[in-house]
């Protein structure tokens, strides 16, 4: 086996989901984010804080890089020689990409982060020992570590505010890694309700908190396996496939340049579950 063969046929060598023994059946949760619609308003981030019991760490700890925003808006300045007020910026909502071949999973010493049959990258808080190796290995840097015991020592939620915590999500203690879960508690509720009726979750029946809050409807979320789902149609329209590390859009010479769909860091082959739709630039219109 030459190195070339290994690199060219990487997806066959690397064991990742879906594989024959564990197909994505009937669910594969995936997302697509339209960067042209995103205005960088941060509503998604706020909704995530409310839904997932995220501690607000304050200015000082934020400056130390200890913010706990599972959903963050990354800002990229245009480099077109214009100065600040005129300078354009682009926004990119960044959260856990729920990689199919997640780099974080392979390095966890206690297997606290695993791949689920639904194609999610799970994080089991009570199993985590806080080695932070997963965070070091995450190319997207979307894993957040509890450096402090926020609920008690830092009193992030004073007594009355405990009432606003989501009971379906654990309040994490000190020394535990956490990250975006695609609002797994909502997925569980929706799957349970559907299962009682002997069917699978319909498209649009379950929303993530960020999707629900997005005023521009930039985020769509759903079951990639379901051919009727909005996400499936978007991925298909953009010719983005889950188990490829190079999409049609990247092969410019083959005329794929009108496509907007791409996934971040595909060349690292984590096979992420989030597709971004490239912003349509002024110059291109």
């Amino acid at each position: 086996m030459s190195v070339n063969n290994l690199l060219e046929n990487w997806s066959q060598f690397r064991h990742f989901h879906p594989v024959d023994d564990k197909p994505h059946d009937p669910y594969k949760w995936a997302m697509s984010i339209d960067l042209d619609a995103c205005t960088g308003c941060n509503a998604c981030s706020v909704a995530c804080y409310a839904e997932n019991n995220l501690p607000v760490v304050g200015k000082e700890k934020y400056a130390h890089g200890q913010a706990m925003h599972w959903m963050r808006i990354e800002r990229y300045w245009d480099e077109d020689d214009r100065d600040f007020p005129d300078q354009g910026a682009q926004f990119l909502p960044m959260m856990c990409q729920q990689c199919e071949a997640a780099p974080c999973e392979t390095v966890c010493p206690v297997a606290a982060t695993n791949h689920t049959a639904d194609g999610l990258n799970s994080q089991v808080y009570n199993r985590c020992i806080g080695s932070r190796y997963c965070s070091a290995n995450c190319p997207y840097k979307v894993r957040y570590f509890n450096w402090y015991d926020y609920p008690t020592d830092d009193n992030v939620w004073p007594a009355e505010m405990n009432q606003q915590l989501n009971p379906d999500v654990t309040v994490r203690g000190k020394g535990v890694m956490e990250k975006c879960t695609f609002c797994v508690q909502r997925l569980h509720a929706a799957k349970g309700a559907a299962r009682s009726e002997g069917r699978i979750v319909r498209d649009g029946e379950v929303q993530t908190a960020c999707q629900q809050a997005c005023p521009a409807s930039a985020i769509s979320f759903g079951n990639l396996v379901d051919p009727e789902s909005r996400v499936h149609k978007q991925w298909k329209a953009q010719q983005v496939e889950l188990d490829k590390e190079e999409q049609t859009k990247d092969k410019k010479e083959e005329g794929g340049s009108e496509l907007r769909g791409y996934r971040i860091f595909e060349e690292l082959r984590p096979y992420p579950s989030v597709m971004y739709l490239e912003r349509v630039r002024e110059s291109a219109v």
Partner: protein, 235 residues
Amino acid sequence: MHRFLRLSTLLIGLFAAVGSYAVDAPQPAPMTEDDLGPAIEQPIEFPHNRHAGLRNPNDPTNSDPLKGGMEIDCMYCHTYARRSAVAGIPPLQKCIGCHQSIASVRETPRIKKLFEYWDAKKAIPWKKVHDLPDFVRFSHERHIERFISQLNRPVQEVCGYCHGNVKEMTVARRSKSLAMGWCASCHQKDHPVTAEGGKPIGNQAYWYNFQKPAADTSGGAVKAQGPNDCWQCHK
């Protein structure tokens, strides 16, 4: 020589130090995963055996319920079990709903206490017996659905898988450890996911969270293991 550095002297010193510490320090009650926890005292010693217990076989009309049980369905009082994650404790209204019409036991101490709560318009502060840690997601609905709706097993047997033989208890006591290994011991068994001939049970196909079974060509019931994904139960 330094006589106090001799090994025996050091060891005696060490044991003395550790021993005195061990005597002083308050030791927490040893907890193992099989521990059933302390006995819980309820505000009213509720007789599960009287309500859910089997009828006296020598008394088919059940004229004297004190000698046997009433065979009330568990879900008559724990009514949320079939439609939500928690089984639910019945509201006081439910107790009174029956007991206001049962004159024969009206003057017994427990029922008097019950009506004291009712007259004071106060809920009975029942204490939780089967309390799972906050990081565990358990749904009664799923298990009721599986064992009672799909497999048609008797209610008391199904509830007893986790709650023990409640129909012979007064105040409910934990009789299963509810530890993760105990849960897994059942989830790791091969459960039938289709009836004979491959027909899905209760119109539900195998794929509802069960591990996909190897293709079965013999035409018998396909079996698969229960859900064993970490995130299935941990939140």
